[in-house]
């Protein structure tokens, strides 16, 4: 009998084969043993420029290129290793100190072992991606060494050896090999330093004669140690033997398996944890099983989850259900010592069946709506995914007393109110106070009340424009770094001199229609540089009109899958701040080559309709084209031109045609039930900083020409959406707006009914539009807008999606009352439009300029879904960043005004949007801001500076504020009430408010 066993000593190939055995538990419940064989090689280079041996054996890759050797000939030395050194970090060091490795001044010549990289990938995907970016950066000199595949460094797991021990051993083996290997090829080899925070590993290394240091020990030997030491994660120290201290503040999480079972059985729910902006102790979790989000009340119930985390929650028994809090709670104002979550909940033991019954109750409570006010509450029992990011904040200067160069613990208070304070340890307290600081959260254990994090870098002084803008961009994760060289290399080499080729036999003209003779014009906001769209209309012999919408042909310049495409895809959208624009595409394209500037020939992607004078669309066609815009109007200019009776030229006539058609289109849309929504938008014209900048704050004016452009863009988007959906039934990139569940409107509906007696019919968008039209208060013209703003907030947000991921009826755009919708008209500033352009180009059989390679990625549903997800995320953030920017600007403007003319108060109209037990939220239309008004900020008659008290009527939505014992002198405010308020920008004592220039609103006595 011949043995069938592999890997016996008798087998001559045994030394070249290694294998990896592990068990995979699939979601379906399958448990599978997986065996991976690894074939060991001898030609994987050490990649040190010192080594000639490896250089001669290194093999070429598939392209026939031998990879360049990375590790420097003359690596940097430190105090301990004056002759230079190469670093080999282990996984934990990378997990805790990635920020350090990204430092540009230190951490060069690093060998990343495959063992370490794989382990890191399993533990944290974001860190893995950051590390991969480092290995690609040329000046950092990080070398990815495939130690598991090199026969000298491959390590077979011994019997009874834990995986961690095995991995540690393989790090040591690689270090030992590097040491001996380099000693053989050079006389004075650099020292190989293993970085590990594991004491046992360091002990073993010492025994084996390998230099091993903890991250802290290593950093202490560097020049800039103080600053760098702050960046060593707190967790790293924790590993050095901090026993769990006595008091445990938080309950333990359930085991992962218990969570999975619970989710499958439907007794536990998964969702994203969101903290209320008004009350930091109240969070909500939206779970797929129920219409309305579940409440999470108190620190203990939220159990170390931070806003944005994907958490698993368990419904609490019915007697613990609560009415959502009517209090405004701010972490700053709540005294740290009296812990508001002291209402210890007794862990009651409930059986599975009872838990299931509880799910029913939730449904009932949700459907019952306003009748029973108590809402189902839940508690967090596990975290599926931490969405911790870098946070911007300030040091709470009371928490740490600076004592020289010693390490002190301080609280970092994030700008984002929903995130708790973070404990960080620093040696540079004095420098950090009064600065905007970027930090990250490392961990949150059961025995610390607040999460533990570490300092990353300082953005600069508070309230300086640079620091605040950068803080804002960081907060909303906007990529604002200049475009890398690889991206700029994708631009046309002619630069600004690029022109539409004059010769129509040029490949650029292939498949393009020449529309240069048509009178096209663009209408945009004043000063617009990135002109996406232009229009024309001309009469046809049969009495109908030809209407054309011409969109910048960005896809002609941005080819799929090149670095520029990748960059645009990850940026997703252009972000508009008050004084800054963060472009999605490089300037050259956005403001010049693509931009449909007047009097210049440009490539365009045109949608042409034949329309009857009653605005009925007869037919539509699409074509790539070349146009020459005759004029670039601003809305006002266009309006003037149309209104000017003396202007009778062809261009003006065509604009008049467009206007009348657009009005008919609009009416049709409204009849179909499109919503006229409102958001509190203001425009800021920030051209001249010297003048009274407050005057620049303007509410957006709505001209007829605005809606002219809007209507045709909507029409173009809808027409294109139909076309690409028919060609790509599974992978068309569309945009939808889901119908909001009726329960979303329950509160608003109740408020309207009680306060004003209006009925809100939410059965369809048409019904809603009609009932919103009814909500008019003749004395307060703004009332209707206020209601629209509040109604908008009850709705879900529109999202991009891939047509295959929803059923056709779900494509509907609720707000626009359209069956199908997409974005086509702004490819310069939105990546979605660019993709839609490519899909449309394919759909119409356009074959010019490298379009053929687009096919594969246009049909890849998985990829498209990932892109959609990113686009939705980027769009939301861009919106939020824009709003935050305006808010900041308004604050600064108010401050500037106050400094210039100290006495002059700014008294404006405000409207009550929400009423709490201890304050109200007031909306100020003039500045588009809303703000909290606390009891102290009510101006009372005969103010005696006594303690304020209030009577809150939750059903009547009224709040009466008075000084203690003087009820008669009180002020009563109610929901929707119009108030006179005084707006000022005031620096508050709380660290959180600082620099953000929260606007303070004072209610004047009525």
């Amino acid at each position: 009998m011949k043995s069938l066993k592999r890997g016996l000593a008798a087998d001559p190939n045994a030394v070249n084969i290694s294998s990896k055995v592990f068990i995979r538990s699939a979601k379906s419940g399958r448990v599978q043993k997986v065996v991976r064989e690894q074939y060991l090689r001898k030609d994987i280079p050490c990649s040190s420029l010192l080594c000639s041996a490896c250089a001669s054996t290194a093999v070429a890759d598939a392209n026939g290129v031998v990879p360049k050797f990375v590790l420097s000939k003359r690596p940097a030395g430190t105090k301990a290793f004056p002759d230079g050194h190469y670093l080999i970090p282990d996984t934990n060091v990378l997990l805790s100190g990635m920020d350090l490795f990204e430092e540009s001044g230190h951490f060069h010549d690093v060998v990343i072992l495959q063992t370490v990289l794989e382990e890191l990938k399993n533990r944290s995907l974001p860190l893995y991606n950051r590390l991969m970016a480092l290995t690609r950066s040329e000046d950092k000199r990080f070398y990815l060494f495939f130690n598991e595949f090199r026969s000298d460094t491959a390590v077979r797991r011994a019997d009874g050896e834990s995986i961690n021990d095995r991995n540690d051993r393989s790090v040591r083996k690689a270090a030992a090999w590097y040491t001996s290997h380099l000693a053989r090829v050079t006389k004075k080899p650099p020292v190989i330093v293993v970085l590990t925070n594991d004491q046992e590993n360091r002990r073993k290394s010492k025994k084996e004669g390998i230099n091993a240091l903890s991250l802290r020990q290593y950093v202490e030997g560097l020049d800039d140690a103080d600053r760098l030491l702050d960046m060593v994660s707190q967790g790293a120290e924790g590993q050095e033997g901090r026993a769990l201290q006595g008091e445990l503040f938080y309950p333990e999480y359930y085991s992962m398996t218990r969570i999975m079972t619970g989710i499958k059985a439907g007794t536990l729910h998964q969702g994203v944890f969101n903290v209320s902006p008004y009350n930091y102790l109240e969070g909500t979790v939206k779970v797929p099983a129920f219409d309305k989000p579940l409440l999470v009340l108190g620190r203990e119930a939220s159990n170390r989850s931070i806003s944005g985390d994907v958490v698993v929650v368990e419904i609490l028994p019915k007697d613990q259900w609560k009415v959502p809090s009517t209090q405004i709670l701010d972490e700053d104002t709540v005294n740290q010592n009296d812990n508001p979550d002291n209402e210890e909940q007794e862990e009651s033991v409930i059986t599975e069946n009872e838990k299931r019954a509880l799910q029913e109750d939730v449904r009932r409570a949700h459907s019952a709506g306003a009748d029973t006010r108590a809402q189902p509450t839940c508690r967090v029992v596990g975290i599926m995914k931490r969405n911790w990011r870098q946070l911007v904040g300030t040091i709470d200067n009371v928490s740490g007393s600076a004592t020289g160069n010693r390490q002190t613990t301080v609280f970092l208070v994030p700008m984002d109110k929903r995130i708790p304070k973070i404990r960080i340890r620093t040696r540079q307290v004095e420098e950090l106070i009064g600065k905007r600081i970027v930090a990250t959260i490392d961990s949150w254990d059961r025995d610390t009340r607040y999460p533990v994090g570490h300092y990353i870098r300082s953005l600069g002084e508070l309230e300086t424009k640079e620091a605040e803008t950068e803080a804002l961009l960081l907060e909303y994760d906007v990529q604002y770094r200049p475009f890398p060289k690889a991206v700029l290399d994708c631009l046309p080499s002619e630069g600004h001199n690029w022109k539409v080729p004059t010769d129509t036999s040029d490949p650029g003209w292939q498949g393009r229609r020449d529309l240069r003779n048509i009178l096209v014009c663009s209408i945009d906001p004043p000063g617009c540089q990135d002109i996406d769209d232009a229009l024309h209309a001309r009469p046809l012999p049969n009495g109908n009109f030809e209407v054309g919408v011409h969109i910048a042909d960005v896809s002609n310049f941005v080819k799929p899958n090149n670095p520029m495409d990748a960059e645009a895809s990850s940026r997703g959208t252009t972000v508009y701040l008050v004084d800054k624009r963060i472009d999605m595409l490089p300037m050259l394209l956005g403001t010049d080559l693509c931009s449909l500037k007047p009097h210049v020939e440009r490539y365009a992607f045109s949608t042409l309709w034949e329309v009857t004078p009653d605005a009925e669309v007869v037919s539509a066609s699409f074509t790539k084209s070349v146009i020459r815009s005759r004029e670039g109007f601003s809305y006002e200019q266009a309006q003037k031109r149309i209104d000017d009776p003396t202007a009778t030229d062809e261009l003006t006539q065509s604009m008049r045609t467009l206007l009348s058609l657009s009005q008919k289109l609009r009416q049709k849309r409204m009849d179909a039930g499109a919503l006229n929504l409102s958001s509190p938008e203001v425009r800021i014209e920030a051209d001249n900083e010297s003048s009274d900048s407050l005057a620049d704050v303007k509410t957006k004016a709505q001209l007829a020409t605005n809606s002219l452009v809007e209507e045709f863009m909507l029409l173009a988007n809808i027409t294109v959406a139909r076309k690409i959906e028919s060609v790509f039934p599974q992978t068309a990139l569309l945009r939808r707006h889901a119908s909001p569940p009726a329960s979303n409107f329950a509160d608003l509906s109740d408020q309207l009914k009680r306060m004003r007696g209006f009925e809100l019919d939410v059965s369809s968008s048409k019904a809603l539009a009609d009932s919103l039209d009814q909500c008019v208060d003749p004395t307060h013209p703004f009332f209707n807008t206020l209601i629209r703003i509040m109604a908008t907030r009850c709705m879900t947000s529109a999202e991009y999606f891939c047509s295959g991921s929803h059923a056709a009826p779900e494509f509907r755009h609720y707000g626009l009352a359209s069956e199908i919708y997409t974005h086509f008209t702004s490819p310069i500033r939105r990546y979605a439009d660019l993709l839609v352009h490519r899909q449309l180009a394919y759909a119409i059989g356009y074959e010019g300029g490298g379009n053929e390679i687009a096919d594969e990625s246009l049909r890849n549903k998985g990829k498209l879904e990932r892109v959609c997800q990113n686009l939705n995320f980027r769009h939301r953030n861009a919106q939020l960043a824009g709003r935050a920017s305006i808010e900041y600007y308004v604050g600064q403007a108010l401050k500037a005004r106050a400094e210039k003319t100290p006495g002059a108060a700014i008294d404006v109209e405000g409207y009550v949007m929400r009423v709490f037990e201890n304050g109200i939220v007031v909306f100020v239309p003039q500045f588009g801001i809303e703000g909290l008004v606390r009891l102290e900020d009510f101006q009372l008659k005969n103010d005696e500076a006594a303690k304020r008290e209030s009577i809150f009527d939750a059903d009547g939505y009224t709040l009466t504020v008075f000084e203690k014992g003087r009820e008669q002198q009180g002020v009563t405010v109610e929901l929707f009430q119009q108030l006179k308020v005084r707006v000022s920008s005031e620096e508050k004592s709380g660290a959180r408010e600082k620099g953000k220039r929260r606007v303070r609103i004072v209610v004047l006595s009525v």
Partner: protein, 367 residues
């Protein structure tokens, strides 16, 4: 079981010679084994297939080989509705309820053990194949303790150890491949059962991270898995059963019969043995099954001198075997298996092999 041999390769004269020598006391075996209880040497190795939970490769010295792979899969337990039908317990026995309940719950089902046999050249619905599969499977899944035992030494049968919780269990798939020039005609039962035995003892169950009633999720570390049949061998620890093929010729009881010996058997008995749960006995008999002897289907011999007479036995002349085995002979078979310790020897031999194998593995890893 029907005879598996299509035709015997031996002439009546050869058969008569073999039969005469085997029925002498002590038996004269054609391969010169001195005793009826002597076994031929065999070769075996475990862990030959990397991707399964347990495997074995066994080769007999006559060239036949068997390869067995064992796979475990997680499966949902179908709720049994008849668990409500519990025998009446009066209040005096209430104290034992918990124990009984636990035991009841820990009972696995026979269907959780699947065994398939592959013989090259045979259809997988061949009746002989199906019969052989069931013969191999049945002793594996026999409930060892059908009645609650008086003492606490409760040993579990294979399927009982497959229970994860009330909703989940492991399903064992034993896949057996026979490599033999004669196919089923070589009476491969002992070879297959021994290979299956070793493969099952090589089988590891992934360690579960989940606890209690949770859905099973395994620890991804293969090394953390545990043996399906615990390796720490105590005499009473459960082991998979082994089937021995015993030959009866005249009054003689012969183990591990060779091909020549099988050809002249008066009767063939398949005895399934398992390690006993009692301390005082090493092994116990699970099943005894008669197998048709190929000697039934042979041509009869014709005496040289005279006309053959009906019903008259001429010594030295071959006569196809008819009828069964005497009760006393069957008793002798069982006696030699259980009392004389053949079963114990076989089991300890297999134990010894596994210990050796363990040692070799440790040695290989140390290199």
């Amino acid at each position: 079981m029907p005879s598996l041999a299509s035709s015997s390769p031996f002439s009546p004269a050869e058969l008569a010679y073999l039969h005469t020598s085997l029925s002498s006391v002590p038996p004269l075996r054609p391969d010169a084994r001195s005793l009826g209880t002597d076994f031929r040497p065999l070769r075996a190795e475990t862990g030959v297939l990397p991707a399964v939970n347990g495997s074995a490769h066994v080769g007999f010295s006559d060239g036949r080989e068997a390869i067995v792979g064992v796979k475990l899969e997680v499966e949902k337990t179908v709720e049994r509705k008849n668990t409500g039908l519990k025998y009446h317990v009066d209040s005096a026995m209430d104290i034992d309820m918990d124990e009984d309940e636990r035991r009841k719950q820990a009972m696995g089902k026979q269907e959780w053990v699947t065994l398939t046999l592959t013989v090259p050249g045979l259809r997988d619905d061949d009746p002989n194949l199906a019969f052989l599969e069931e013969m191999l499977r049945e002793p594996l899944a026999v409930p060892l303790s059908t009645a609650p035992q008086s003492d606490n030494s409760y040993t579990m049968s294979l399927q009982d150890s497959l229970v994860i919780n009330s909703r989940w269990h492991w399903h064992v798939y034993v896949d057996v491949l026979l490599i033999s020039p004669n196919g089923l005609a070589s009476y491969p039962l002992p070879l297959l059962s021994m290979a299956a035995h070793l493969a099952l003892r090589d089988t590891r169950i992934p360690k579960l991270k989940s606890e209690g009633e949770e859905d099973p999720v395994a620890d991804d570390d293969w090394m953390a898995s545990t043996y399906l049949y615990p390796r720490k061998v105590v005499t009473t620890s459960p082991r998979p059963p082994v089937i021995l093929l015993v030959l009866v010729v005249g009054e003689n009881v012969i183990f591990d019969p060779s091909r020549e010996e099988l050809a002249v058997a008066d009767g063939i008995v398949a005895v399934s043995i398992a390690s006993s749960t009692d301390d005082d006995k090493d092994c116990k008999v699970l099943a005894v099954r008669m197998v048709d002897s190929p000697a039934r289907d042979t041509m009869k011999g014709i005496p040289q001198s005279e006309e053959p007479q009906k019903g008259v036995d001429v010594p030295g002349v071959w006569r196809p075997r008819v009828g069964g085995v005497k009760r006393s002979v069957l008793k002798a078979v069982i006696k030699s298996v259980v009392v004389d310790g053949v079963a114990r020897d076989v089991m300890s031999g297999l134990d010894g092999f596994l210990n050796l194998e363990d040692g070799a593995d440790a040695g290989a890893n140390a290199v």
